[in-house]
């Protein structure tokens, strides 16, 4: 897989799904081998129960603030793309993760892959997302109307990622 077929971006600004799909196709030079393109988009939902049980907050959720470890984030995302590309013989793969303050309803993350067949494309997308959630150095802070709290890691995410090594 040529290195240009992997694209990773950590950015404050939003992204356009159509433009990203166009860029995905262009990244493999209209490679006629791509028979399946799958994508996952994560959004900020209006979820007031985002905090751990028992942790109080004040008012409605307004936004998420996302912090990251700049030197490490892109390394981890690129490594995940490389791992998925090797495992499912992907032809092209791109990941975008936003940082900073993201209001409710906006996109946070994009995983998009091109493969020969749909099973590989679906599986690779899920693999990258599951590993991103437990290994990429991003941290979410929930911004409520009157206060803000760091979001705790979910045990269910850890259980989900461990299923890949069973």
């Amino acid at each position: 897989m040529p290195s240009k077929a992997i694209f990773v971006s950590v950015q404050a600004h939003n992204f356009c799904l159509n433009e990203q799909q166009q860029a995905l196709f262009e990244s493999c030079n209209a490679n006629a081998e791509v028979g399946a393109a799958a994508s996952f988009v994560g959004l900020v939902r209006a979820e007031n129960n985002i905090m751990e049980t028992g942790q109080s907050h004040s008012g409605e959720l307004r936004a998420l603030y996302i912090e990251h470890y700049p030197a490490m984030t892109e390394l981890v995302l690129r490594r995940l793309c490389e791992e998925a590309s090797e495992k499912w013989q992907l032809i092209t793969c791109r990941v975008i993760h936003r940082v900073g303050t993201i209001p409710i309803g906006e996109q946070i993350v994009l995983v998009m892959v091109g493969a020969k067949h749909r099973a590989a494309a679906f599986a690779a997308c899920e693999f990258i997302m599951d590993h991103l959630k437990t290994s990429a150095p991003f941290w979410k802070k929930a911004i409520f109307e009157h206060d803000e709290h760091w979001v705790a890691a979910k045990q269910t995410d850890q259980v989900k990622v461990e299923q890949w090594s069973e």
Binding site: Y69, A71, M72, H97, M129, K133, P137, W150, A152, A153
Partner: protein, 82 residues
């Protein structure tokens, strides 16, 4: 010297993004976390909490690892991206 970075809740608890500390030969990351906590006694933190993660030169490692002089060390809570 070691370059030490803190992220998210840990950064806020310590009131510190990064600092440079003396390198101590043979010191493990767990021992380093203890030394850093004692440098910040006025700011109780999760530095020595069992869930706190550590990376050396952008690679997540166990706290039993002994860093080298000049390494970049990062301490942070479990990640929550995506």
């Amino acid at each position: 010297m070691l370059s030490v970075k803190y992220f998210a809740s840990l950064r806020e608890q310590l009131g510190c993004n990064s600092e440079r500390v003396e390198f101590v030969a043979g010191e493990t990351l767990a021992q380093l976390a203890g030394r850093l906590a004692s440098l910040h006694t006025g700011s109780p933190s999760d530095l020595q909490h069992p869930t706190t993660r550590c990376a050396v030169n952008q690679q997540v490692v166990e706290l039993t690892v002994v860093p080298f002089d000049g390494d970049e060390i990062a301490f942070f809570p479990p990640v929550t991206g995506g």
